[in-house]
């Protein structure tokens, strides 16, 4: 064992031999300090939104007021760090724009519908505290629950939206009622009547929807869309989902914590002419003066320092290996 080794270790070996617990402790300290500093100093770090987030933001800012958006939320708190920031930003925009939405889960995640309902309750509580109108279940949004087989559900929605969704939700003061009686759903007849279909996911459900849903091209204001499907995904799923964005199979993609920060940045600053790579002359006002920077920005400094730590440790390990090799004549 290394600890009982009487031979003194070289500098190169020392660089490579931090204990597991020491590495963990350093990470906890670095991340904790960053989170606290960010909170107390109210830091707003710079960010340059990418094309995927810009197009996503442009679409949700362009859909007409009163439209109904479908939100397939397949996430649980296992990816709260990324998904909650994205989902909260999405809800803030939809609620500020008076867009109705139906939220549901179409994968084998029994916790997901309740997690989504809890996030909506949290954002609603913040709205009430800020003196904004509460978003009312049944009249402004509905929960469609869980569809364990996302593949078959997507196919059924394409074939007949009305028969694909046979669920109940609870109107205020009334017993559970067929969701098609809700103001959120009553105008929808076929899948193209949906304003946008947004997927919040940490898994490959984006594949399932791309493979099955097909929307007619539509233009909202100055924003022409080839499809109504957009994705908010975790960093792990980012590179794969990004390919669908590149081939215009989805209208926009928000990736990971960086994507959440990008959306918050766009909410604060909007899109000025010449900034959007896709729509050069597009101009969109943000929500200046409102609470736009939230969970994404609160975590952003810590992302910098944690990634910085990883880079430093990898460099340390490699320098250590190089020094040791040089000392032992390349045999280490």
């Amino acid at each position: 064992m290394a600890t009982n080794d009487p031979t003194p270790r070289s500098f190169g070996q020392r660089l490579q031999s931090l204990s597991r617990q020491t590495v963990y402790l350093i990470l906890i300290i670095v991340v904790s300090a960053s989170v606290l500093i960010s909170k107390f100093m109210g830091l707003t770090l710079p960010n340059k939104p990418g094309a995927g987030s810009q197009d996503f933001f442009a679409a949700i800012m362009a859909i007409p007021e009163g439209s109904t958006v479908f939100i397939q939320s397949d996430v649980t708190n296992s990816t709260r760090g990324e998904s909650a920031g994205q989902f909260e930003a999405l809800l803030r925009i939809l609620m500020r724009r008076n867009i109705k939405f139906a939220v549901f889960c179409a994968s084998g995640e029994p916790q997901a519908p309740q997690v989504a309902i809890d996030v909506i309750a949290r954002i609603n509580a913040q709205r009430i505290a800020n003196g904004e109108r509460a978003y009312e279940r049944w009249n402004d949004w509905v929960s469609l629950g869980l569809f364990p087989d996302g593949r078959a559900t997507a196919k059924a929605m394409m074939a007949n939206l009305r028969t694909a969704i046979d669920k109940k939700d609870t109107p205020p003061g009334k017993p559970p009622t067929d969701v098609w009686q809700s103001p959120v759903m009553e105008k929808l007849k076929v899948i193209d009547d949906i304003g946008l279909y947004i997927l919040v996911t940490a898994s490959k459900t984006s594949d399932i929807l791309v493979e099955r849903l097909k929307f007619a091209p539509v233009t909202y204001g100055d924003v022409p869309l080839r499809t109504k499907l957009g994705c908010m995904v975790t960093g792990v799923m980012g590179p794969e989902t990004n390919n669908y964005y590149r081939s215009s199979q989805i209208f926009g993609v928000v990736i990971g914590l960086n994507g959440a920060v990008e959306i918050e940045h766009l909410m604060e600053n909007g899109i000025k002419p010449g900034q959007s790579e896709t729509y050069r002359s597009l101009s969109i006002e943000g929500f200046k003066g409102m609470q736009n920077y939230a969970r994404g920005m609160a975590y952003y400094l810590a992302l910098h320092t944690a990634m910085g730590l990883l880079i430093v440790l990898v460099i340390m390990g490699n320098v250590g290996m190089w020094l040791t090799r040089r000392q032992t004549g390349g045999g280490a």
Partner: protein, 297 residues
Amino acid sequence: MNWLFLAQAETPEYNFWNGAPGSPALLTKVVIALLVGIGIMIALMFAPTRLRRPLVALATFVAGGFWMASTFWPTAPDAVTEGRNASEKVAIFLKDVTSVVADFSNVLTAFLLGLGIYSIVSVHGKRILKRQQDWSFSVVLFASIVLMAIFGYADWMDEQNRTAAVTALSPGFWNRGRDLLFDGMLQNMDAAMFSLIAFFILSAAYRAFRIRSVESTILLSTALIVMLSLMGVVVSAWDGLAGDFAGGNLKLSEISKFINSNLQTPGIQAVKFGLGIATLAMAMRIWLSLERGGLNS
């Protein structure tokens, strides 16, 4: 026959396939059908060995056959609701029953999701009964299942009967209990459990990420650029320093965009093309029960 009969697009007239809710006629049909279903299940238990594989193959083929037909059968124009010829009639039939098949699929998947719970109960039940090592933890596990189930169902039942005014006044005992267990405990545990990977990924990168070959050098360099491009402060500083030198193409945001568009995208696309073809081939083999092992073992 109207194949929307199971989809409940509108309240139909009562016929052989349905019945009034709570009526003796409907209950009788349900019980008889259940007994028939269980009878078939029991009969299958005594099915000869040589019949087993064909039965499984038939079930797989019929289930997959529906979606194959719905994919490749020519569709009828949207405006056509009554088929004018045999082809259109089939197309409309396939479209109509899609939601019924999706319902069956969802319900069956839900039933099978219970397998995981059954497995947990079975493993830990045996551990308690045999007083194996750490059996007390299994008791805690059972208590957690029961507690969550009780509060979850009670809250749901409560919600069905409560009015909004009452809920606004007080969330209720069952709701508080459910919220404490679900949001207070389960969700925090879920987040904590998956966040542990951050420690392992850092430790593994420190120990194993070494520049030893061309491949590892390329991988490490790309990962470094991607990570730096995800750090807004670094991007801002780098882009500021690079300015418009070389047409602004030395900005970190431009470099990462170039990698993303011209190297990462086609690389992943090529992998997915390969995977796509392989998945398609495997799917056909499973559908036609040509695959050895698994379902056909």
